[in-house]
């Protein structure tokens, strides 16, 4: 898969995630939060990861940054980060979680923006100090210069009166301003990849529009790659070049945004798109629904994880074999037996 896409546009992807499995070993059993996820992120592109709650979006992000908390850990897979001048990519999955190398990458080459900016700033320090500190942690600059850079960053993310706001505490700011601060902090070390996990979910639509515009604008100016994680198909449609659809820890479909919306292949993607309330719909019309609800993480279905809810499930096949992510066209992949044959004999 990695090679195919690399050939398609002549450039190896910036980040390749291959067969990633991140499990939580809890007292009640093992939660397979990410269970064999594969995808890639091209330089300068925006990739969307979409799926309903608990499908493993956030844990995927945490895995890339190596900040999965115990009792969770990466149990398999590769996370290959390619750097401009290095011969071989570095496998983030193999790095020591607390080691110097990943700490330099985290907040340096790869930065993260969370849903709730309040929890990512310490309430006891001014936001300015926290950004200044981050800059000094990753770059060899003096305090004065770091402060000037911070003011510039705040201006860049659209914070009015940055010279004054830099000395405010997190609680003094509105949700929208805090999210801008968080983005400023993420940008402070010129990341190559920005991961934004539900960056606008806690915000009102008008503030959401401001933040999405800001992200798009910065992406265009800096040419960084952006991974945007959301459950909102609208945000995906507006922001991304490529889309990854997750269900129960797996990538069930991935491809260019236009194909995902206009020629979705996987039954889950199709059903999800039909079931979302759309602003284009006729008032008071019923929505097609997906039967049932997402299974509890401890009760994963056998075979295809979507089979108990799938209208097209083939008994004897879908409940017994696990489909794999296979190409449908050049850059479009789906994990479904409607598009490929089961390969191994069913477990008896």
């Amino acid at each position: 898969m990695a090679d195919q896409i690399a050939r398609a546009n002549g450039q190896p992807p910036m980040l390749t995630v291959e067969g990633l499995k991140t499990y939580f070993f809890t007292d009640e059993g093992t939660v397979r939060a990410v269970d064999g996820a594969s995808f890639e992120v091209q330089a300068g592109k925006t990739v969307g990861i979409v799926g309903e709650s608990g499908c493993g979006k956030s844990v995927t992000a945490l895995s890339i940054l190596r900040i999965v908390e115990r009792p969770g850990r990466i149990v398999a897979g590769q996370i290959l980060l390619r750097r401009p001048n290095a011969k071989a990519p570095v496998d983030l999955a193999l790095l020591e979680a607390e080691g110097a190398e990943i700490r330099a990458i985290r907040g340096g080459e790869i930065a993260l923006v969370f849903q709730e900016p309040m929890t990512s700033f310490s309430p006891h320090y001014t936001i300015g100090n926290q950004i200044v500190e981050t800059i000094q942690l990753h770059q060899d600059v003096g305090k004065e210069e770091a402060r000037n850079r911070t003011i510039e960053l705040l201006r860049m993310v659209g914070i009015p009166n940055p010279e004054r706001r830099i000395d405010e505490y997190p609680f003094e700011l509105s949700g929208g301003l805090r999210q801008r601060m968080m983005i400023a902090m993420a940008l402070s070390c010129n990341p190559k990849i920005l991961i934004a996990d539900e960056p606008t979910t806690a915000l009102d639509v008008t503030t959401q529009a401001q933040i999405l515009d800001l992200l798009r604008d910065i992406q265009q100016r800096t040419q960084m790659s952006v991974i945007i994680i959301t459950h909102d198909m609208g945000v995906i449609a507006e922001m991304t070049d490529d889309v990854i659809v997750m269900y129960l820890g797996r990538v069930v479909e991935s491809g260019p945004v236009d194909e995902i919306f206009h020629q979705p292949k996987h039954p889950y993607t199709q059903a999800l798109l039909r079931s979302i309330p759309s602003i284009f719909a006729e008032p008071r019309t019923k929505l097609p629904t997906i039967a049932g609800s997402i299974p509890h993480p401890h009760n994963r279905p056998t075979g295809c994880p979507f089979h108990p809810r799938c209208a097209e499930a083939m008994p004897g096949i879908c409940d017994r074999h696990e489909p794999r992510l296979r190409p449908i066209s050049e850059a479009h992949f789906a994990s479904c037996f409607l598009y490929h044959e089961p390969e191994a004999a069913p477990p008896s």
């Binding site: 507006e238 079931s275 979302i276 719909a281 997402i294």
Partner: protein
């Protein structure tokens, strides 16, 4: 048959909250959470209240249910007995005989159900409180209610934690329906649910409305959800209604600049419709210190001098469309064009 009779009429409703400061907790100001709003809801109809966080939606809902006492204004409710009562004015005791005719559905199905009670106890609680003494009678009614919300009656003895978010919301709805209410006030009933489950609950609410002739006041911030459920929509901004109209009209041809901006801000689920969005500058005004004149003027692209000094009032621009804007008749605004069921999956 939907009859065109207002079940609820809200007139000049206000609810202020005092701002207290200092050791003596002296009142130093007022949060004008709901600031002189009027609207009605016809029998069997769904009116949605939309607007950004803090604009006063929940406060309005709570005033209608008299969970909060309004500062001023009237809340005229037509009881099942055909009487019209002002619930804003009545003493609590006098409210009791018909209070059960208005019920609430909450946003968070996880915290709104008591984890130590079985589904039977949860749904039967209002029955018991209203004097249904026979356990057998309660059991039969709970069975009926669970079937109504498409839950298996065998689930009756289970506890809420055994249910998914969507199922818990169904339990909450069953409970709200226990005493045959005529008005259901639903405050963000689907915002905490997964996307695929939202559709199930919205469909259920539409079905129940047809089956039971319910009237809904639907509070939400998600305009896509609102479009699916409502007959009419009221848009709130800083404690005031700025526009109210039939759903189709409001989405297709909004007349208030704030409505237009809200519609434009919604991310559209179609990559072929990426368009230039209207991105409002600045932030929602603080209801403790609202701007002069039209509260929207600091963010409005159409503001003129008059907007800074003179507060517009809600006027009927065309039959059924009420707008609070000095320039509603002269500016032309864009809405969203409906298109079949929304998605074109080819």
């Amino acid at each position: 048959m939907r009859m065109v009779v207002p079940l609820l009429e809200v007139r000049n409703l206000q609810r202020f909250f005092p701002i207290r400061k200092g050791l003596l907790r002296r009142i130093v100001g007022q949060v004008r959470a709901v600031d002189d709003i009027s609207f009605h809801i016809n029998k069997g109809e769904t009116l949605s209240l939309v607007g950004e966080s803090g604009c006063g939606k929940t406060t309005t809902a709570r005033c209608i249910l008299r969970a909060l006492k309004p500062t001023s204004g009237e809340v005229l409710f037509q009881t099942a007995e055909g009487e019209v009562v002002d619930t804003a004015e009545l003493p609590k005791a006098a409210l009791k005989p018909f209070r059960h005719q208005m019920q609430m559905i909450f946003q968070d199905p996880f915290s709104s159900l008591n984890p130590r009670m079985t589904v039977f106890d949860i749904v039967a609680e209002p029955l018991l409180a209203s004097g249904v003494k026979s356990r057998e009678q309660r059991r039969r009614r709970v069975e009926e209610l669970l079937e109504l919300v498409r839950l298996r009656p065998e689930f009756m003895q289970r506890f809420p934690h055994a249910f998914s978010g969507g199922q818990r919301q169904r339990i909450g709805i069953a409970r709200a329906l226990a005493l045959n209410p005529s008005l259901i006030v639903a405050d963000e009933p689907v915002s905490a649910l997964d996307v695929s489950v939202q559709a199930q609950i919205l469909n259920l609410m539409l079905d129940l409305q047809d089956e039971l002739g319910l009237t809904y006041l639907f509070v939400a911030h998600d305009l896509s959800v609102v479009k699916h459920i409502s007959d009419r929509v009221a848009v709130m901004y800083v404690g005031k209604i700025v526009e109210i109209a039939e759903t189709k009209t409001l989405f297709k041809a909004p007349k208030h600049p704030y409505t237009e901006a809200l519609l434009s801000a919604v991310p559209k689920p179609d990559p072929r419709r990426r368009s230039e969005r209207i991105v409002l500058q600045g932030e929602v005004a603080d209801p403790a210190h609202p701007p002069s004149g039209c509260y929207f003027h600091p963010r409005c692209a159409h503001a003129i001098d008059r907007c800074k000094t003179e507060t517009p009032s809600l006027e009927e621009i065309q039959p059924g469309q009420f707008v609070s804007c000095h320039r509603a008749r002269e500016i032309s605004l864009n809405g969203v064009e409906a298109q079949g069921n929304g998605m074109t999956i080819g």
